[in-house]
Subunit: 158 residues, 2 copies
DNA sequence: TCCTATTGGTTGTAAATGTAACTAACAAGA
DNA sequence: TCTTGTTAGTTACATTTACAACCAATAGGA
């Protein structure tokens, strides 16, 4: 027979007493879980409808919202690494959502601009994004929404 | 000629008029950026001091905070996919931070338990986590902290 | 008992990411 | 001109993750 354990009953889960620090109130963990939850349903939309990745959607959104700009400019705004942006731009170009054009005054730079198809996708997705945002925020009061957004902006460093 | 706008048209770069929706107030984006910022400095700690991944730290933290449990139980709490947990457990076992033991009543299940070294790492890291949390929260008022945590918990589905 | 379904956990493979090395264009000074 | 350094962007490779298939143990009937 296997050796008997010191207690008869298998121990229930009981928190250690050494610390009252709970993972579920640890801010980075909370932020991460909230971000994952909030992002999932929207991710389904741009993935299913346009086969896009998050990086690609972000680039599309930036160009759609703020107009033509270089990859560098997108990087400054989004803090995505330049390799991520490079790959996202290539993918979007391959699917004819944007075009590149060398700048005459500095040929290292490329002006990225959405095509008509890109603008259409942006408009469709941004509508969904707005709906999704409204839906998420609907569970909070106006005052809570205000505090939440302000705190998040500060944490994000905006 | 293009149709005239109601205001005198500024020739500067101007956001498209189709939508006033700004990426920087889109909740999933904000959450993601905030999570990334907030997580980075703490990540450096457990990466540099223990060579751990985020998944490994989470498993360590769960076992340290709530005591021995199965991989399944960790999955229910963290919502990490079972493959991530499986690999994190293997890595922690290889570094002697935890031990596994088959449960007698159901041999599919494994009781995971921290070793002394594992507990030591947990205690060290949880102290750092608490400090980090306090530091992040210090920029907000008590009322803001309260709203922030409450909203995030709800968004995370806790 | 046998059959089938379910469950806890692992493994294989493809996709995505991070890091560093790289190319080409510019810039500034000797 | 010829350096040397910097910058925008790409490519290569290693690490990490996602997804599906898988294995072994259990459960529930017939």
């Amino acid at each position: 027979m296997p050796p008997r354990m010191s207690r008869a009953a298998p121990a229930e889960i009981e928190p250690q007493e050494e610390t009252d620090f709970d993972l579920q109130s640890f801010l980075p963990y909370l932020l991460n879980q909230a971000a994952e939850q909030a992002g999932t349903s929207f991710q389904r939309i741009y993935k299913a409808r346009y086969g896009m990745l998050r990086t690609e959607w972000r680039v599309l959104f930036h160009l759609g919202r703020y107009g033509p700009m270089t990859a560098k400019a997108i990087g400054l705004r989004t803090r995505m690494h330049k390799t991520k942006i490079s790959r996202a731009v290539s993918a979007l170009e391959a699917r004819r959502y944007l075009t590149r054009a060398e700048l005459e005054n500095d040929r290292r730079l490329e002006r990225l601009e959405l095509t008509a198809a890109g603008r259409k996708a942006y408009e469709d997705l941004s509508r969904h994004a707005r709906d999704h945002d409204a839906e998420l925020m609907a569970q909070f009061s106006a005052q809570e929404r205000d505090v939440l957004r302000r705190c998040l902006r500060q944490l994000a460093g905006f």
